[in-house]
């Protein structure tokens, strides 16, 4: 694990990088997966629409983190453009009309890593500190 920085140092970093809540957020898949890049709109569709089939390619299963994780807030803010409240309303519309359930949720980045390495069709996002050789970073275009 990374060594803890003094609190003032964190404050300074936070002030210098106002756009990042989580220092490095990565979209990742298993090292065995074929996927190497994904368009921002495709990523949005994957996380906002259940049962999304990527045209002409394999079906990708999105993996989410719990509402308590910092990575989740950052991911939806940066890539999907939705606040937690908007997401809840979005899923309420789909759930209560039988159009699907939200992606499967795991507690934190570590749990997402364990899930991804078991399934080459799954895609998730993690804090960069949890990246290891069993995973591959997906470029978001």
């Amino acid at each position: 694990m990374a060594k803890r920085l003094p609190r003032w140092c964190c404050c300074l970093l936070f002030a210098l990088l106002p756009c990042t809540g989580v220092a490095d957020l990565l979209v990742v898949v298993s090292a065995e997966a074929e996927l190497t890049r994904i368009q921002r709109q495709e990523l949005k569709d994957l996380y906002l629409e259940s049962r999304t089939l990527r045209q002409g390619r394999t079906v990708v299963t999105p993996i989410d983190q719990s509402e308590r994780s910092r990575e989740r807030g950052e991911f939806y803010r940066r890539y999907i453009g939705k606040t937690p409240a908007q997401l809840r309303a979005h899923w309420a519309r789909l759930i209560f009309t039988g159009r699907g359930q939200p992606p499967q949720t795991f507690a934190d980045s570590q749990a997402v890593v364990e899930r991804l390495v078991r399934d080459p069709n799954a895609l998730g996002y993690i804090d960069a500190r949890f990246l290891d050789e069993r995973l591959k970073v997906v470029t978001v275009e």
């Binding site: 045209q55 606040t83 309303a89 309420a92 209560f96 039988g98 359930q101």
Partner: protein
Amino acid sequence: MRRQFVWSCAISLAVYSGATMADTSLPSVTLNGFGTLGVVHSDVTNADFVADPLASSGAGYSGEWSAEVDSRLGLQTTLAATSSLSATVQVVSEKRFDGSFSPDIEWAYLQYDATPTLSLRAGRMVQGSFMNSEYRKVSFATPWVRPPAEIYRLVPVANFDGVDLRYRYYLGESINDLRLSYGGGSLEYETGDIESSNSWGVSQHTRWGDTTLFVSYGEVNVRAQELTQFFDVYRLFGPPGEALADRYEVDGKPVRILSVGVNYDPGSWFVEGEWARLSSSTLLGTIESAHMTAGYRIGQWTPYAGVGRARVLSNRFEPGLPSALYPPPLSDAAVLLNGTLNGLLSSSLSQDSSTLGLRWDFRPGMALTVQYDHIDFRSGSPGGLINQQPSFQPGGDMNLFSLALDFVF
């Protein structure tokens, strides 16, 4: 008895799902719920404002404030037997025509996913007549305390028992959902019931970036026991009576509903508009409605404002039977019938409304909304108010103040 059965099913599935929720293997059971605790105040004290036109009482005459207009609880459970076969039941408890809150089945269907983009369902479902129809009772999922009456009150029977087909397709960067449905349904109220049969609908939902487009067309054949009896009496008055019954009879004639909606939501703000037209060569006539709502999101707060309008395009007055042509007891009856017919014709939705609201998403899955509505009833329309007292004059205006706590889980 049936309702007790519904609840015990829901509860036993809920208990069962508690044990299996963490497991992702099939078969799996998921439980979700939604609800609203709401109070509404109406300043019209000689009639009741209701959200559901078939409820037995509301706000205004029965009480200055009512907690029964918007409050409800819904529970939904889905059993996924295999990756392509599932069953879903949703029960909703809300104020009903008999004054009780006994739960009713909103959705109950079997779903088969033939391919990842094509699914077939059979059972009880909700017509997708308008943009927010299918989740109109999930107040948390919409910006308002209740969906705009001008549009969402047009169709009395929203549920149907039948089949539907949904097909998802991709065109360029857009995601499209096409839905075809067919079936019939029935609805009980205090003094009779309404049946719909051979109803079909087609709707197209397109999402392209931040824009959503919705188009829907459907036909419903409505039969209301009371109206059929009413026109049977008209038919006793010879050819003039028969002509009037043929002209206004609802039974056996299609009611057509066309709707177009747009939503644009780039994140920090949103705007949604919808236009609908109900047309029929019956007593229900032809009505055109539209509404538009815009909102701005500031952190947990969403202030919003909207306007709505409904207009009756068909005739709202009918001279009726020439009562002078009939001998005394019959002429009185003719006057009475004509009065009732004109009362029904003028009760069609014709109003302008403006809405101001503020929603506070104070914690995940919970929101508190305050809303103010000003409604102008046009040309003698009673605006769907019920329990009208002798002092009530149609065609006035009404102010509503609502407070609602919405939740989903």
